[in-house]
Symmetry: C2
Subunit: 351 residues, 2 copies
């Protein structure tokens, strides 16, 4: 059955329900919002009518009246990245389950658009904003953006995936250190000692942390750190990683394993290695982060660190909703990474 709102010309309103139930609109509103006690007899009657007509209170009117839109804005760098797509889907599901609507905006890496959309989300009266990608993932927080966020946060809570110094944004983020631990432990256990770290830029928080941790782990194991193995200033796409890997190889840098900053990078690295006749993992092991579906497409399938997107998105959304509804929420939460071992990593055969 379809709601009356659709089949009729005029959508049915709270007044129609009220009249038919013989009560005032206020009372109907009360049962709708569960905001006050209503004699259970009337309540039943009203509820019955609501069900009968599949009545849905007009969101717009509701928002106008109490400024509660039950809408949460999601500011994303680019949903075409499967990593963000998975997170968005998880957020959307969590929002729906809690009776909220998620509104997605992509700024496609343009800083101006990023700020513009953030403002526009605020203008739309979303009740909270979740951002992943862009300035909230940078190592050094952009001053102007911080200022903008602070003004917005005067009325609208924000939760982000990185950090934004000088703001009170809530943070739900991946434990990048641990993510590096996992991969290094895995590779060290397989006997690798010369391990390259390819892709990404170290002015991005998570990449920087991985890099730091990488060095630290080597030190803890008494292994030398070779700067040649860790090119910086790359990006997060296939081509850049392909190029960086080619350069390493051409420079004659020896290695038995490479850690890719994400699955895209890994694909570029694998391509480069194969073209030059290296076997994976016999000659060189390749591992990466994100565990997107590319890991299954790769030949051999890619060992990668998973973040459990479903849970990650849910944490993000639950935090946002918790903030809206005035619950106590810890200001920093960590997502635990886990290793998914596949065929691209193996025992080190070349010393």
């Amino acid at each position: 059955m379809l709601s009356q709102k659709i089949s009729d010309g005029k959508p049915i309103t709270i007044y129609d329900i009220a009249k038919e139930a013989g009560v005032s609109p206020a009372t109907v509103s009360r049962v709708l919002t569960n905001s006050a006690n209503v004699r259970s007899e009337k309540k039943k009657k009203i509820q019955a009518l609501i069900d009968k007509y599949e009545f849905k209170p007009n969101t717009l009117a509701r928002g106008l009246a109490d400024t509660k839109t039950r809408t949460i804005g999601i500011l994303s760098a680019d949903i075409r990245n499967p990593y963000y797509a998975s997170m968005f889907i998880a957020c959307e599901q969590a929002a729906r389950a809690a009776g909220y609507t998620a509104v997605l905006c992509n700024f496609l890496g343009e800083q101006e658009t990023e700020a513009k959309l953030l403002k526009s989300l605020h203008d739309q009266k979303v009740e909270a904003i979740i951002q992943f990608g862009g300035r909230v993932d940078d190592l050094a927080s952009d001053e102007e953006y911080v200022e903008l966020v602070n003004r917005i946060m005067a009325t609208t809570p924000m939760v982000i995936t990185g950090k934004l110094d000088g703001t009170r944004c809530h943070v739900v983020r991946i434990d990048s250190m641990q993510a590096m631990d996992i991969l290094m432990e895995h590779l060290l256990a397989l006997g690798h000692e010369r391990i390259a770290l390819v892709g990404g830029r170290r002015d991005v928080l998570s990449t920087f942390e991985k890099y730091q941790r990488y060095k630290q782990i080597l030190k803890e194991h008494g292994l030398p750190f070779d700067p040649q193995l860790v090119p910086d200033g790359g990006s997060y796409d296939v081509d850049t990683a392909y190029r960086q890997m080619s350069e390493l190889l051409e420079a004659g840098v020896r290695m038995t394993a490479v850690i890719a900053i994400n699955d895209f990078s890994a694909m570029g690295i694998i391509k480069c290695l194969k073209e030059r006749g290296y076997r994976i993992p016999e000659d060189i092991s390749v591992v990466s982060y994100d565990n997107t579906y590319m890991t299954e497409i790769a030949i051999p399938p890619l060992t990668s660190v998973d973040y459990n997107y479903e849970e990650y998105g849910k944490m993000l959304m639950d935090t946002a909703i918790g903030l809206i509804e005035g619950r106590k929420v810890s200001s920093v939460q960590m997502v635990r990474p886990t290793l998914v071992e596949r065929g691209s990593s193996g025992i080190c055969k070349h010393v």
Copy 2:
């Protein structure tokens, strides 16, 4: 500078502007909506105030007053599919450019959710709805869904990517016949005659059309049609194609080229072929549809049919907006596919 709405406690309204400009709220509204002539002197003054405060009229109030939300609903099967992600991004851009907001909902292949979200989009008073994936792509239209759509279309125009018999939905879709022509011409020119068609289900419109066209082209070229080469009842993912391809090979079916129903399928097929020692394209050529980024990841890079997502999404959105604004729009528009040749297809060497 940030809008007054953010820095102050109380957001500024049309009344504030009116008072400061010494005019009535109606006049401010008129310049906001450009709905009537206002003496240019006043107009300038009002506009200056609007700019000064970066005043943005409250969307909710606007929607309530004239039922124009300037919002377009997008119902998508699953944005994690890069094909849909690209289309959504294009839609979002086109909407923004036209002053509309796109609201995305994913039903994740669940038919119940699909109908529920369609209704909820309508309840939210979106001014038009675009759907890609799901029931609008089926060969046989679901009666119940048709009924729902028809009721919704009494007030809200819909534009879809496939078809929905018994509705007046506007259609913007890919010319699947031509898409098959392109690939077949390409392969036939390379000398291939035994060509497999792997992946997908023929109860999906586009897949059915491709299948029909495939047979027709063979006939036109005086080539035999071998049912063994065209397994049905598959899906659109990597694993299914992998399995189907394995079955073909194990059954000893001879072929020199295979057309994958999409890039995911192609990846499964390539994987299967490589594992069994086939060289691509020397032993078997592989081509596919969609031209997502997977084509570049594949080794060798994949020859694929491109749909120009940017233009596709724009057509979808422009159609929706045209409908809203009462322009004449043709009810069926076709997207022209083009071939992107890469390394996975080559001259047929085995007769």
